[in-house]
Symmetry: C2
Subunit: 389 residues, 2 copies
């Protein structure tokens, strides 16, 4: 792919009930421009990833224009992309195509979501619209109380325990590892490191998931500046190269293999394999999913993630650190911002800017972002492969 | 732009209360594939343009997957784009970039919207979210009754009458012309040709706009297959070439010149000027806007549209026919489908497939699609220039 990342920007992630979406999105956008050393006039296209502002804020249309109304790029050509929790990695995919096409020299991608509000049931009701409502049935009037996606992740975790021999301690260890990473990430939503025992002792959301194993609702925004590598060179910008970007989709009744399929196409596009990956950000909407995704991505053999996790392979300093940012459970999961946040983390890792959570010598990085539920797995998946400058 | 249109598909436009969005979108998608002579497996990416399914149907997320659940492309990589009433021309823009980048050989773009429902106030309340709600104030509880956009178009028409000398008959003549074109279009929502007197005698919506001068709510879908010209040649497909595709955006307090700015960039990209355009589809959400847009696009000198319209320049057989499909007021305006529908009409005109409304010898065509309201004009604008095979 003839594309590179030359700037990143991110806000704090957290529950900021009084902070508007436009403040978050504009802050991330302007920070990414500053990081790239560019002006708004240099930006040819802005692609906003947002999953659910229509239900969450009422702003169903002109989402991009309103989210960026207070930013320096207000008035630049823009549009908005939805792909559930994979919205902003999908936006990055389109941004990559835009610069690779030659039609746009510089593209700003912004992922943003504002989930908290005075109505405490709103975010839950909104998340429940990331399934096929006609097939699954409309959300019941009391649907607000049911954590639809945590039920899905819990069922997946139970099935995984059965076939892999993972114990409750193994699942808790993933959350403890992520909380440790989050404690090293200044923008993370959850910054308290937890022990395995603390994770196990926490309140159960849906068995076997306890509270620290589940991503919370939250608010945040992340942004990236994309350009072509030769332009970055000419401008003297440090450029993280895009090796691959692939989008996958599920359909009703399929094999639930969308993550594996999408990753295979990404490796093929990049001309490398899972063994070449030095650091990953994956879609751990619940912590145990990290083990399953490591297998789906081919980072470890099927059924092999538990043993490797016990050996510390996925911790900072391990063979292949996963979710150095803290992942969805610790950095946070403001849904439309997550995909961009993963790629911001990896671009910062590859430029050796990740501070206390830096993965030494990281040369190749992989982001896996999933969205919605359809058939026997996520509805959407985007895999991005990046290389250090 | 290294992109071409090799297939089109469109549904009937109209008020089909009992017809689901997925039926409309899937029908248009499959027709476009059939027209291109391609299978679903040939499609590398599907870009869905949809403006407001979240509020209109409740399906806030995985819009693409659910809209196309019943189509042959279910399971192909897909995502959804929002840019208010310019959603599906924005989707076409991204589809063009996707094939031009070389990363995708064949892209299907589908624009779809389902506006009618048992709740007769829903569509009006939804349209009112295409302004900046924080700046303009939330929709009032009785907001359902106010046709927000028709008020904007009426104010624009009154100002235009004052500065151009256009009379109520001039405005009505535009609607009568469009209704004539719609009567020749088998998929049009309004198929009864009206006289100028009938348009003037109809019920006033907001002075000076009478009912036939205003686009209605409606349901419909339109789809296009895009590929690179050399691939089309190899496959033996008749290919409508994309000469330019530009996206523009407004910001609060700007000059309201987004249409003119976006068109200028499109002419520059294509290396041609307004005098080269043989046929247009423009965003006549209310009929009088057609005259103003003709001036903004440079098709006629500022203030010159009225005299040329009186001479019949914009009718079928005139110097530069505008809205041969019937435009938004007659073909219909299911908002997320409109941009794709305009381009379907022009691609069919350029392939001499437009039946009784064919513009003889059409070689170059222009589509102008606008969305939302911001500052002193539309929030978004997309201009597309196409050339006959």
């Amino acid at each position: 792919m003839d594309a590179a990342i030359v700037g990143t920007g991110i806000t704090r992630f957290g529950m900021f009930v009084g902070t508007r979406l436009r403040k978050l999105a504009s802050c991330a956008a302007d920070r990414a421009l500053d990081d790239a050393g560019l002006d708004a006039a240099d930006v040819d296209l802005v692609v906003v990833g947002n999953a659910a502002a229509g239900l969450l804020t009422g702003q169903e249309m002109i989402r991009a224009h309103t989210a960026l109304a207070d930013s320096r790029v207000a008035g630049r050509p823009m549009l908005s992309v939805e792909n559930a929790c994979a919205s902003s990695s999908s936006a990055v995919h389109l941004g990559i195509l835009a610069v690779a096409s030659g039609a746009h020299d510089t593209v700003l991608v912004v992922g943003a979501e504002k989930m908290t509000s005075a109505d405490r049931t709103l975010a839950g009701r909104t998340l429940a619209t990331a399934v096929d409502l006609e097939r699954e049935g409309q959300v019941a009037p009391d649907g607000a109380a049911r954590p639809v996606f945590m039920e899905i992740y819990a069922a997946e975790a139970r099935a995984y325990m059965q076939r892999s021999g993972a114990t409750p301690r193994d699942l808790a260890a993933v959350a403890a590892k992520s909380s440790h990473n989050g404690s090293l990430n200044p923008i993370a939503q959850v910054r308290d490191p937890l022990t395995v025992d603390e994770v196990l002792a926490a309140r159960t959301i849906v068995d076997p998931l306890t509270r620290p194993m589940c991503s919370s609702i939250g608010d945040g925004a992340a942004a990236l500046v994309l350009t072509r590598p030769e332009l970055a060179r000419r401008r003297g910008q440090q450029a993280v190269r895009v090796l691959a970007s692939t989008v996958g989709a599920a359909r009703a009744g399929d094999a639930g293999d969308v993550v594996a399929r999408t990753a295979r196409r990404a490796y093929e596009q990049a001309g490398l394999g899972p063994a070449d990956v030095d650091v990953c950000e994956v879609h751990d909407a619940a912590a145990p999913a990290e083990l399953l995704i490591a297998e789906e991505l081919g980072l470890v053999p099927a059924g092999g993630a538990v043993a490797l996790a016990r050996d510390g392979a996925f911790t900072l300093g391990g063979r292949c650190p996963i979710n150095p940012s803290g992942g969805l459970v610790a950095r946070g999961h403001p849904i439309g911002a997550t995909g961009a946040a993963q790629i911001v983390e990896l671009a910062d890792q590859l430029r050796a800017r990740a501070g206390g959570r830096q993965v030494e010598g990281a040369g190749t990085a992989l982001a896996e972002n999933a969205g919605g539920s359809l058939g026997n797995g996520p509805a959407a998946c985007v895999v991005t492969l990046l290389a250090a400058p």
